[in-house]
């Protein structure tokens, strides 16, 4: 983690998961977003879909209880909730491209104020790791991003325009970082909620684009 300040990764995912509506079909990217499947959804039914064709998986398997034939898209051993089904890869992506996925939560290197984001290739790198991100970003009804506020070197990840190759253009709705919750609006990027131990000035100093900031920024809603 580049900066221990602010929300933990689980808190970041807990906050995004509050946005999931009852009955939503949700696809989680590798890295921080996988923590969203461990959240408490109360009486909401959330259906987790993974690119490798597991529709309806549940929390991570307890150590020693793993089914070695069953992983999510991050390669983690997971459980299956009642009502789960298995499909092959082409069908799993057919579900994605045909708009069945209500939200995908992805990691990113950069998110721009116009909703572009980059998560498959570092600057100057040969090759890249796309996985299912381009299909998901282009086709999910909502795209949420979970990432650290800054790079390892302290540079901003929330930017005016992506400097590295984008995954998709104009698709991001909501971003959670350890510093706060940000929405991409037609007017630009808006700070919606702020982490309890972070100041607005700290958010501004670590953000590379203009932010729409209300006079009172509420704290990030956290459970318990």
């Amino acid at each position: 983690m580049s900066d221990a300040k602010g929300l933990t990764r689980q808190q970041m995912c807990d906050r995004l998961a509050m946005e999931f509506e009852d009955g939503w079909i949700v696809n989680l990217g590798i890295g921080i977003p996988t923590l969203c499947s461990n959240c408490d959804f109360g009486d909401r039914q959330i259906i987790f879909h993974s690119e490798n064709g597991v529709v309806g998986y549940g929390p991570l398997t307890a150590p020693g209880r793993e089914d070695l034939h069953l992983v999510n898209a991050g390669g983690q051993h997971v459980t299956m909730n009642p009502g789960s089904a298995i499909v092959h890869h082409a069908d799993a992506f057919g579900m994605i491209r045909s708009g069945r996925i209500d939200v995908t939560v992805l990691g990113a290197y950069e998110v721009a104020e116009n909703g572009d984001f980059a998560n498959w290739k570092m600057g100057g790198q040969k090759g890249g790791g796309i996985g299912g991100a381009m299909d998901l970003a282009a086709c999910a009804k909502h795209v949420f991003v979970a990432m650290e506020q800054t790079t390892r070197r302290g540079g901003p990840r929330l930017v005016e325009r992506c400097a590295i190759p984008v995954t998709a253009k104009g698709v991001v709705d909501l971003v959670i970082t350890n510093y706060g919750l940000f929405a991409i609006t037609p007017e630009g990027m808006a700070l919606k909620e702020i982490a309890p131990d972070v100041s607005v000035d700290e958010v501004k100093a670590t953000t590379g684009c203009n932010l729409i900031i209300p006079s009172e920024v509420p704290p990030v809603r956290l459970r318990g």
Partner: protein, 257 residues
């Protein structure tokens, strides 16, 4: 009497693979990965291979010394890969593939994962090309044909036929009908559909024809040409820890199935 599809060993099943062919390797994060066939092909030595797979190695649940595409790469058998991952996903990760790619010894085509699956599904379905919204507006779409349908831009992608598919399944009957278990299905049936010749490593004892109910067949045996039963470890590779393999073998011997 048709020729049996059951081969006595992985070596026998890959003995005639020529140089300069395109091979699809199934599996996703180790599950359904044809580990034994990778090993046999590395021994067999066919060169000039184009390898199609999700990535260039397996996942963390595979033993360190288990054969993956990396064995073929280190043997200089591979000229090109077609994958959804051609770079590490973590800064700490180092791929054998990367050093060959960066020094220009291997070519690579990076494809979004859904497009990769659909290109093979199309090849296996008699469809030469299709349009997809994935990768529109990205570096991957630069200079390529796009078209607007219903006000939205789509990218033209061509089918990806394979000469061979190497896959792993849970159960097979002698006709080659297959069943997969849990997320083992992934790319495996699609690659078989796209290939001229499909070679399968099978986890359970190969059943007589008809032993799998037709309603339970995940992939028709018409797509399957060669079957090899994975022997118990250490002769055969299993993506399991030794204690689990021992337990599983004990269950099988006890007729728990």
């Amino acid at each position: 009497m048709p020729k049996s599809k059951i081969y006595p060993s992985f070596d026998a099943a890959v003995a005639d693979i020529p140089d300069n062919v395109t091979i699809g390797f199934g599996g996703f994060a180790v599950v359904g990965q044809p580990v034994n066939l990778y090993g046999a092909l590395a021994k067999q030595g066919a060169k000039g291979l184009t390898c199609v797979s999700n990535g260039t190695r397996g996942g963390s649940t595979l033993a360190e010394d288990a054969p993956t595409m990396e064995a073929l790469i280190k043997n200089d058998q591979v000229v090109k890969v077609v994958c959804a991952f051609t770079a590490p996903t973590r800064a700490s990760q180092r791929l054998v593939f990367s050093e060959y790619y960066e020094s220009g010894r291997i070519d690579a085509e990076l494809v979004p994962q859904g497009t990769l699956a659909e290109r093979m599904r199309a090849a296996g379905s008699g469809i030469p090309a299709f349009y997809t919204p994935a990768a529109v507006g990205t570096e991957l779409a630069e200079g390529r044909e796009t078209r607007i349908f219903n006000g939205r831009e789509y990218l033209l992608e061509e089918a990806l036929p394979l000469d061979y598919a190497f896959i792993r399944a849970y159960q097979a009957d002698a006709f080659g009908n297959l069943r997969f278990r849990r997320s083992q299905r992934n790319f495996n049936p699609i690659m078989a559909m796209a290939a001229k010749v499909t070679i399968v490593e099978v986890e359970e004892d190969i059943l007589p024809s008809g032993a799998i109910d037709p309603d339970d067949v995940h992939l028709s045996g018409i797509y399957v040409h060669r079957l090899v039963k994975v022997p118990p470890p250490p002769e055969g590779w299993w993506p399991m820890r030794p204690a689990e393999v021992a337990k599983r073998n004990a269950e099988l011997q006890g007729g728990a199935r």
